[in-house]
C-alpha cells in the first residue's frame, strides 16, 4: 500500500460476534509501557543490578560431540575477583524426563553434545574478569564422531547420540537417533492418488533458523543457603522458569520468586530455560547475587533455534483443481534432545484443505546441534513451504488460478481436519476471498517479477491462566496478569477490562505479576495471550462486576439479581428500575472498606476454546538473474484475527511474522562446518532482514469470530510466519521459472537452479 493511503484499521466487521457495539475494543490507544520504552526507562533482562552483584560467564564446548574427560577449574578459581565456579556436580541429581533433558542441556554431564554446550560457569566481580576466568578453565575432551544433518543422522552409519531413548512407536529397524514417530490422517490415499489426473511428488529441505530476538537472554539471580531465592529474567514464562529452576537447583518451587523483566523479543525462543539455573547455582556457591547475560554468539550457538527439516510431499489433483489425496513425510532434527515438533509439521501440513484422503507421518531425529525451541508456529512454516509449493506446481501444470483452486479445496466449518477434529467456525475462505479482492492480486507485475500465493495454519492454544483484577478506592483498576507482554498485550488486556467494566481505558493499569502474586500461568506461547489472558481478564471483570452489583444491592436493600452493570455504574433493574440513581464504580469502591472489604475479581482456569487461525499471503518477488538475488517488492498479509482488540498491534503481528518469514525464505540459515561447529555466530553472518531489504507490508484483518472467546478473539502471533516461505518460493518460481526445493533461496542456490534450467 502506498504510504499516503495508509490508515490504521479500525477493527473491521463484527460478523456474528457474541457482543456488538464495542466501545474500547477495536480502537488503538497508546500502550501503557510506551513512554518507558521510548525513553530508555523500561527495564529488560540485563538492566537489573543488585548490591554485591557478581557477573557470570559460561565455559562452552568448542566441539560438536566429545566426551568430557576432566574439568580443571583451579586456575580460574585462583584468579583475583573470581568468587565461584560451577560444573554439573553443583546441580540436582536424580532428575527424570524433561527436567533431565533441560539440565543436561543447561550444563553438560559427561558428554558435550553440540558446539556451544555449557560445561562450566564462573562468577566474578566484573564481567571482564569472568570472561578471563572462562579461558582459565581447562577441559580435556575426547572427540567423538558427530552428525549435524537431519538426513545423515538417520543413516545406518550415523553416530548414535543417545542410545535407548526411542519411544516404542518408532518403527523397528530405524536408527537409534530416530526417537519419536507420528502418524495421522484419514481415508485411503492410494485410492485418492489413483483418482487424480495429475500427481506431483517432491522432496524439500529447510535449514534451521533462529528467532533472532534482539535482546540476548539475561538474568539476575539470588539463592541463599536456606533454599530461598529470587530470579529476575527475560522470559516468556516465569512460572515455568520457577518450576524448572527449582528442580534443577534442588529447592522447592514456592521458595523461588521469579519476576519477568520487560522482554526484548522471544518468538518462542524465550519459552525455554538456559541460564537461570546456572546463575542460581553460582549465587548459592558465592552467596551473592549473580547476573548472567549471554553474548550474541552464545545465543546463536546455544539457545533454541528451529529444527531443520527434510520432507516428502505427494498431492493428487483432478483437472478442475479438486485435490484427491495428499501425503507427507516430515523428518525434523531438534538437536541432541527429543522434541523436534515433527507432529506439528505433520498436523499443520494439510490443515488448509478439506481432504477425503490424507496421511502424514513424522520423525523426530537427534543430531549434534542445540536443543530446538519453539519459533512462531513451531513446525508449521516448513510444512506449509513444502505443501504449498506442490499445490502451486499443480496449479501451474493444470493452468489453474491459485486462489480459486485453494477456495475449491478450502477447509471450512464442519470440515474434518487433516489432523482429526472437525473445524468449528473458521476464516480460511474469508482470507482467500479478501486476498482475491485485494488490489495487489490483480496489479500488473514489473519486468522480472513474479507473484506467489500461500495459505498457512496454526492451532492456537489456551493453557493454564490466572488473573486478578483489584479495584482501588477511586474506582480505577489494577489488573495483574501472568503472561509476559511481548508485543503490547498489556494494552489489549486493559482494553478488555475497560470494555467489560464500562470505564475509560486510562483507568486500568495492567501489570505482569511475579510468581508470588498469582496462581500458575502457562508460558506466553501458542498465540495464547490475547485469547487466554484476555478471556481471563473479561471473566475476572465480570466477577468484579457481580461483587460491585452486590454492594449496590445491599445499599439499596434489593435483590442482587435486580442490579445490572451498565456504563461503569450499578443500576436497579426489573421491578426496581428507576427506583435509585445509578451508582458509579467510584462511589461503590470509596466505601468498600465499610461494605464488606476489598473488591477483587478473579479467574483461574484452563481455557480450551482457542480458535484455530488461517492466513493467506500475496507476495511479488523480483529475481536478478545475474546475481541470483531475490527482492521482495510487494507483500500483503490477510489473516483471520477473530476479533482484533487493538488493530494496530494485530497489524504489527502480521507484519513481523511476514518479515521473519522473508528472512527464513531468503537469507537465514544455520551453517555447520565439517567439524560440526556453527560458522555464522554473529548477526553479520546470520543475516536477518534489515530495513533496506523489505517493502512496506500491507495487512488485511479478517474477523471471523472464535466461538471460544467472549469477544471472538483468535490468537494472531504465529500464523503470520506460516505462509511466507511458500509464497516467496512460488513468486520466485513465477519470476524466474525455477522451483527452489531447499531453503534459504540464497543467491548461490538461485544461480545454480538457473544454470540447471538453461542446461536442461
Amino acid at each position: 500500500m502506498a504510504l499516503d493511503e495508509y490508515k490504521p484499521q479500525k477493527g473491521g466487521s463484527e460478523l456474528g460476534s457474541e457482543k456488538q457495539g464495542f466501545k474500547v475494543v477495536g480502537t488503538t490507544p497508546d500502550r501503557p509501557d510506551g513512554i518507558d520504552k521510548v525513553t530508555g526507562r523500561a527495564k529488560f533482562g540485563a538492566d537489573a543490578y543488585a548490591p554485591g552483584m557478581l557477573h557470570a560467564a559460561i565455559v562452552r564446548s568448542p566441539h560438536a560431540h566429545a566426551k568430557i574427560l576432566k574439568i580443571d577449574t583451579s586456575k580460574a578459581e585462583a584468579l583475583d575477583g573470581v568468587k565461584a565456579v560451577v560444573t554439573r556436580a553443583d546441580f540436582a541429581t536424580g532428575l527424570k524426563g524433561e527436567n533431565w533433558n533441560i539440565l543436561e542441556n543447561v550444563m553438560a554431564n559427561d558428554t558435550a553434545l553440540y558446539d556451544g554446550h555449557a560445561v562450566a560457569a564462573v562468577a566474578a566481580t566484573s564481567a571482564l574478569i569472568a570472561r578471563d576466568a572462562v579461558k582459565l578453565v581447562e577441559v580435556e575432551y575426547e572427540l567423538l564422531e558427530h552428525v549435524t544433518d537431519v538426513d545423515k543422522a538417520m543413516e545406518p552409519d550415523a553416530p548414535v547420540i543417545r542410545a535407548g531413548i526411542a519411544e516404542k512407536s518408532v518403527p523397528e529397524g530405524m536408527h537409534p537417533n530416530v526417537v519419536r514417530y507420528h502418524e495421522s490422517g484419514h481415508g485411503d490415499v492410494e485410492k485418492g492418488f489413483a483418482e487424480a489426473d495429475l500427481v506431483v511428488e517432491d522432496h524439500f529441505r529447510t535449514e534451521a533458523t533462529h528467532q533472532g530476538y534482539i535482546e540476548p537472554h539475561a538474568c539476575l539471580a539470588q539463592l541463599g543457603s536456606d533454599g530461598k531465592g529470587e530470579v529476575w529474567c527475560c522470559t516468556q514464562g516465569h512460572w515455568n522458569v520457577q518450576k524448572v529452576c527449582a528442580a534443577l537447583v534442588g529447592t522447592e518451587t514456592s521458595q523461588l520468586r521469579v519476576t519477568a523483566s520487560e522482554i526484548g523479543g522471544g518468538f518462542g525462543g524465550k519459552t525455554a530455560v538456559f541460564i537461570e539455573p546456572v546463575a542460581l547455582a553460582l549465587s548459592k556457591k558465592a552467596n551473592r547475587p549473580v547476573k548472567l547475560v549471554m553474548s550474541r554468539s552464545e545465543v546463536l550457538r546455544a539457545t533454541g533455534p528451529t529444527s531443520s527439516a527434510s520432507m516428502d510431499i505427494k498431492i493428487g489433483m483432478k483437472k478442475d483443481g479438486r485435490i484427491t489425496a495428499a501425503e507427507g513425510t516430515f523428518r525434523l532434527q531438534g538437536g541432541a534432545f527429543p522434541g523436534a515438533p515433527m507432529e506439528f509439521s505433520a498436523m499443520c501440513a494439510f490443515a488448509c484443505y478439506d481432504l477425503e484422503n490424507v496421511r502424514q507421518v513424522g520423525f523426530d531425529i537427534l543430531a549434534n546441534r542445540p536443543k530446538q525451541a519453539a519459533y512462531r508456529a513451531p513446525g508449521s512454516p516448513m510444512a506449509a513451504y513444502a505443501v504449498e509449493s506442490v499445490v502451486d506446481e499443480l496449479c501451474n501444470k493444470l493452468n489453474l488460478d491459485p486462489i480459486e483452486t485453494r477456495l475449491m479445496n478450502a477447509s471450512k466449518e464442519g470440515t474434518k481436519a487433516s489432523y482429526g477434529p472437525r473445524f468449528e467456525q473458521i476464516g480460511l475462505v474469508e482470507t482467500l476471498q479478501a486476498a482475491k479482492a485485494h488490489p495487489h492480486y490483480t496489479a500488473p507485475l514489473g519486468e522480472g517479477q513474479g507473484r506467489g500465493i500461500s495459505c498457512g495454519f496454526w492451532f492456537n492454544h489456551g493453557g493454564e491462566t490466572s488473573v486478578s483484577l483489584a479495584l482501588s478506592e477511586d474506582g480505577t483498576v489494577q489488573l495483574a496478569v501472568g503472561t509476559p507482554d511481548i508485543g503490547g498485550s498489556r494494552a489489549s488486556m486493559g482494553m478488555m477490562a475497560a470494555e467489560e467494566l464500562g470505564i475509560p481505558y486510562e483507568n486500568v493499569r495492567c501489570t505482569i505479576a511475579d510468581t508470588a502474586t498469582l496462581g500458575y500461568n502457562e508460558i506466553s506461547h501458542g498465540s495464547r495471550v490475547t485469547y487466554a489472558s484476555g478471556l481471563a481478564t473479561i471473566k475476572a471483570a465480570r466477577d468484579a462486576k457481580k461483587k460491585l452489583c452486590a454492594r449496590a444491592a445491599a445499599k439499596w436493600g434489593i435483590d442482587e439479581d435486580a442490579v445490572v452493570w451498565e456504563d461503569g455504574c450499578a443500576k436497579p433493574s426489573g421491578p426496581n428500575a428507576g427506583d435509585f440513581d445509578p451508582l458509579p464504580i467510584e462511589k461503590i469502591t470509596r466505601s468498600m472498606g465499610r461494605t464488606g472489604g476489598p473488591i477483587v475479581g478473579h479467574f483461574e482456569a484452563t481455557p480450551e476454546g482457542a480458535g484455530v487461525s488461517f492466513a493467506t499471503h500475496i507476495v511479488d518477488a523480483e529475481v536478478d538473474k545475474e546475481t541470483g538475488k531475490t527482492s521482495v517488492v510487494r507483500y500483503t498479509v490477510v489473516q483471520d484475527a477473530g476479533k482484533a482488540i487493538h488493530p494496530t498491534y494485530v497489524e504489527g503481528q502480521y507484519q513481523g511474522g511476514a518479515a521473519q518469514g522473508i528472512g527464513w525464505a531468503l537469507n537465514e540459515e544455520y551453517i555447520y562446518g565439517e567439524d560440526g561447529r556453527l560458522q555464522n555466530t554473529v548477526f553479520l553472518d546470520y543475516r536477518i532482514p534489515v530495513a533496506s531489504d523489505l517493502p512496506m507490508i500491507d495487512t488485511v484483518i479478517v474477523e471471523v469470530p472464535n466461538p471460544g472467546h467472549p469477544y471472538g478473539v483468535r490468537g494472531v502471533g504465529e500464523t503470520s510466519i506460516c505462509p511466507p516461505l511458500a509464497a516467496i518460493a512460488n513468486a520466485v518460481s513465477a519470476a524466474a521459472g525455477v522451483r527452489l526445493r531447499e531453503l534459504p533461496m540464497s543467491p548461490p542456490r538461485i544461480l545454480e537452479a538457473l544454470e540447471k534450467q538453461s542446461d536442461g
Partner: protein, 159 residues
Amino acid sequence: MSKIHVTTTVNGDEVEFLCDPRETLLDALRDKLNLTGVKEGCGTGDCGACSVTLDGRLVCSCLVLGAEAEGKSVGTVEGMSEGEELHPLQKKFIEYAALQCGVCTPGILVATKALLEKNPDPSEEEVRYWLAGNLCRCTGYDKIIRAVLDTAADMRGDA
C-alpha cells in the same frame, strides 16, 4: 589492573567514571553511569541497539572504548526528551506502534534523530538505508518507517 579516569559529557551533564582499558563505552554507560536505555544486542556493531552520538556522530557504543569518550560529548536515548516533553519521534513511535518489544527502540530513536538533523526530508528509501544498521525483529520496519516519515513531515511543518 589500573583503571582509566574518564571525564566526559553525557546528555549535557559532565560526568566522570573509572574504567578498565578494555571496557566499551556501552558497558561504561550502562554499568558505571546507570544509563541502561543503551542496549547490547550483539556486541559486534551489527544490530545498532547500542547507538549513541559521540560529538554528534552516530556510533555503536559497543565498538567504542569507554576511555575514548574522554573530553567528548555523548548523546543517548535518555537525553532525547526535554523534561516531560517527549521528542516528536518518541511520540510518533508510540502513536504508530513503531515498537513491539521495544529493545531496539532506543537505538533506532537515536539513529533517526541523527538522520533528521542531517536530512529533514528523507525519502522512504533514505530512511530504510539509514536504518539498515539498526535491527528490529518484531515489526518488519513498516510502522517504524511510517513513524519517521510522518515525524519528519511534522517537524518541517508540512500539513
